[in-house]
């Protein structure tokens, strides 16, 4: 089973069209020049012995990616809608490409959300990705 760190690295290693900067950990603050940005939140998961002697384990890793796009106070709702749906399609495409490359079962959900980073609200997307081996 992938470690938590490896799974986070898998997701942060994706190339997502339109994303300007990828952080390997949540940033202290965001510069508008780096938006849309992508970073991981803390993962969660579990493991269970699969065979006699615990030679193998089944397991699950789940991790949220935050992708803030633009400060909520800027732009119009129509612009945000167009930008977010395009970003969600790009995230979907990147996750499909990652799924072809990894040795575990990858599933994900993508949703638009209001994200608060360093006290500022941003419109953006959240990916909840899960790696499973069983």
């Amino acid at each position: 089973m992938r470690t938590f760190a490896e799974f986070a690295a898998d997701l942060c290693g994706m190339t997502v069209t339109g994303v300007q900067r990828v952080y390997s950990a949540p940033p202290e603050s965001l510069n508008s020049a780096n938006l849309p940005a992508l970073f991981p939140m803390l993962p969660e998961g579990d493991l269970a012995p699969l065979t006699f002697g615990a030679a193998e384990y089944s397991g699950r890793r789940t991790l949220e990616l935050w992708i803030p796009v633009k400060a909520a106070a800027q732009g119009t709702l129509a612009e945000a809608y167009v930008g977010l749906t395009a970003l969600m399609d790009n995230l979907d495409a990147a996750l499909r490409t990652l799924n072809d490359a990894v040795p575990y079962r990858l599933t994900w959900s993508v949703r638009a959300s209001l994200l608060t980073v360093a006290g500022t609200d941003y419109r953006g997307a959240v990916v909840t990705a899960t790696a499973e081996e069983d």
Binding site: T51, A55, E132, D134
Partner: protein, 137 residues
């Protein structure tokens, strides 16, 4: 506390190969089919137990390497050969129980499902079945 047995590290040897690392369930089925006799002119059928039959089933994971559960079972099936089967539900330590005999394989079922570990099931019969206690490990 009860005397129920929690299984963690069972050891299964098929044809002297330890296939425990591919396995997570093993079962032994002991049966005697009902025999019936209807004596001429009798009003009631006489019923009794027939000869004992012992079969087994090992469930686990498909492994493409040599001497894995799927490899050993498939070779025995293809060759129609019989070989020793040893089942130690609580491991091979002295004082533990051992089930075994001479096994023949009558079924091997590797199953491949998208997004899942490939699994394998092997089943067959046991001749010269015996349950004993391990005296030395």
């Amino acid at each position: 506390m009860t005397n129920h047995v929690l299984i963690k590290d069972a050891v299964i040897k098929l044809n002297s190969k330890d296939v425990s690392g591919n396995s997570n369930e093993v079962s032994i089925e002991m049966t005697r089919p009902t025999d019936e006799c209807e004596p001429f002119g009798a009003d009631v059928v006489t019923t009794g137990a027939g000869a004992m039959r012992v079969t087994f089933r090992i469930r686990g994971y498909y492994d493409k390497t040599a001497d894995s559960l799927s490899d050993v079972a498939e070779k025995m099936l293809a060759g129609g050969t019989e070989a020793t089967l040893e089942i130690y539900p609580q491991g091979v330590a002295s004082g533990n129980e051992k089930f075994g005999g001479t096994a023949g394989i009558t079924g091997v079922t590797p199953t491949f499902t998208k997004g899942r570990f490939a699994v394998c099931e092997a089943s067959g019969y046991i001749n010269n079945y015996a349950r004993s206690t391990v005296t030395s490990s």
